[in-house]
Amino acid sequence: MTGILKSREAILALAILALLALVAMRFPAFILPGNLANVLTDTSPLIILALGQMVVILTKCIDLSIAASLALCGMVAGLLNMAGVPIAVILLAVIVLGALLGAFNGLLVWKLGIPSIVVTLGTMTIYRGIIFLLTAGKWINAHQMSPEFKAFPRAMILGFPVMTWIMIAIVAIFAVLIYRTPLGRAFFAVGGNPHAAVYTGISVGRTQFAAFVISGTLAGLTGYLWVARYAVAYVDIAGGFELDVVAACVIGGVAIAGGAGSVAGAVMGALFLGIMKNALPVVGISPFAQMAISGIAILVAIAFNARSSRQKGRIILKQAEHRTVEGTA
């Protein structure tokens, strides 16, 4: 398994390099370090959310409300800023609010046993609706935001903006969380075999709840970063972005049936999509063709996923031991 994942990540890395090479042939300036740093910053929200979505998908769930949570937290950040609340408090507030939104999803999945796709389809609309209730549909524009509020994610430290550093920190935290904590192990166990997880003393529902809280927290944090960076907040910000997030996970090799995925894969899946979104306009491909190309990338990734899991099946069958179980019963 690890072998397949490793080679899958290598293939993804090669695909990213090939994509950059293709773009560079038409538009060499794209691969200048300065531009690549911009692309990285631009893709940071997608990377952060893809990591949150990954833990949810690992546990056999999905969080479709992730972009709506982002929008609601972003709007709350904007409103708090207009009320003169300091940046540190705003950051704390969006993180707590995001965690609560995620916890609401998680509780419905855990305690009521509703399928996550239904729960988050519902909360996705509810969270956007709350934004409307808060603002009556009005926008918060750049001139209504304080300069500090807008400057925070763009402040440069050691050549990168704060937003990029936050993304790097989250990737590092995730690498530890996923591979070096019992909770990280539980995500894989719950998704890989929920029945066995129960027999091992791991609560499937509680683990899924934890995944939703993590996903919501990241959405909350990203909400502030998003609104501050683009200097605008309205009901529909990041509309449809949840699908990009899921796509990044799928391209990154996170199994949609749960139990398999990696931090590196999710990050590279997000990078691949991010580079494509940034590169296609500069090489003069129309926005409609861009959408089609993104779609093709997703299908190729899924086909690749399906193929590798089928191969796994064949290896098991070679042992052919469990077939005898039925035969002798």
């Binding site: 398994m1 166990a189 075999n193 129960v198 003393g201 077939r323 035969g327 019963a329």
Partner: protein, 512 residues
Amino acid sequence: MLTETALAKGAEAMAPVLSFRGITKTFPGVRALDGVDLDLYAGKVTALIGENGAGKSTVVKILTGIYQPDGGTILVNGVETHFPTAQAAAKAGVTAIHQETVLFDELTVAENIFIGHAPRTRFGLIDTSAMEVEAKRLLTSIGADLDPRIRLRELGIASKHLVAIARALSIDASVVIMDEPTAALSHKEIHELYELVEKLKAQGKAILFISHKFDEIFRIADRWTVFRDGQFVGSGEIAEVTEARLVQLMVGREVDKIYPKRPARIGPPVLTVAGYSHPTEFDDIGFTLHQGEILGFYGLVGAGRSELMQALFGITRPSKGACRIDDRVMVLRGTADAISAGIVYVPEDRGRQGAVKGLPIFQNVTLPSLAKTSRSGFLRLAEEFRMTRDYTSRLDLRAASLDQDVGLLSGGNQQKVVIAKWLATRPRVIILDEPTKGIDIGSKAAVHDFMSELAAEGLAVIMVSSEIPEVLGMSDRVIVMREGRIAAEFSGDRMTPENLVRAAAGIEGEAA
């Protein structure tokens, strides 16, 4: 007198509707059927009798076209026939009513009866009204007063059986297979089923009746056939045989030498269960398990053994009764409680409940012990590998590396990983549910050897097994369960195959 003999001769001369001649079926490592013969006669019920693993289910699967035999011939009305698919078997008039009926809960009774061969209108659409009329007629013919238009999920198990039987009749079957049809039925429902079998007989169907229950075999069967370990042992008329003779034919063999049970020093009680009851699965279970003891639980499939063990492991909750470890009363709200109390359970269904395929061996082994291997909330991989190496080497695990995906291991080695996982939690009581089911002989011996070693080290072991040689070979004491209750307990000289089979099947008295 003369007429009777003539009648008997006539029956004897009657040609079977369906016959197996020298049918063989091999799976890797196991010969499930070894040149067996079987004859089914029109208007007669033939009981197929044998222990678990005797090859009964394989016979059903060959008859219904799911498995292909490796050798031998199937004769239908004397003509050699092949059943390459389930459809071919159905076309030849063979139909099966399974242990767990395979029907569709969300479809109506009529749709269930006719799915796959529904009457059509001129335009090729399903003719619902004709289907419902015909369904009603079939149901009435078997004495079932069911509305063909209601959904199946609104029916009880017994009614679902009736629907399955009506379905069998709808394809105009000449051979009806009933695979433990009474396993899930109540007393009253069983009697209704008997009446139904009489009706099918009267219609001239040949019935293959698979059952573990001797009372019902003698109640409704006309003929018997016994298999043992995939081989044909004998057959004849029910009227000319006794229970004792059938039991002897079923179990007649020496206990193998693959059961290296060592004499154990039995210590003080560890687990005491009293009055344990569950609303639907088991009732008034009480026993004491001692340190160093291997306590066998024998019974037929569906006797409630696994259900009891799941309650002892905190997966389900009992309605009444107490469970004590040493002298502490345990309240098991979940599996985590049981594990911390020192009870662990190696489930029967390895694939579903045991190993997490996709995770490497070491992560499977340490999954319930992560609290022990991690420090201040962080995992220590070196510690995990050390723990895994400790336990898997004692079990003689064959794997390329401990980083290997468990899903790529053989069944026997997967079982070793699951057992290692539980041993690593340092339990007081280990419950092994069918620990060697479906694994090869070599791994079997290793698991048995290790079981003895554990008991010798002072662990208390509960072994649920449906294999008599294993139960007798490994246990210090055997509890036999029947229909959710403890039917008998045997130890020492009274642990004989005959006694176990009799207690499990509910035959009064003990064999001499």
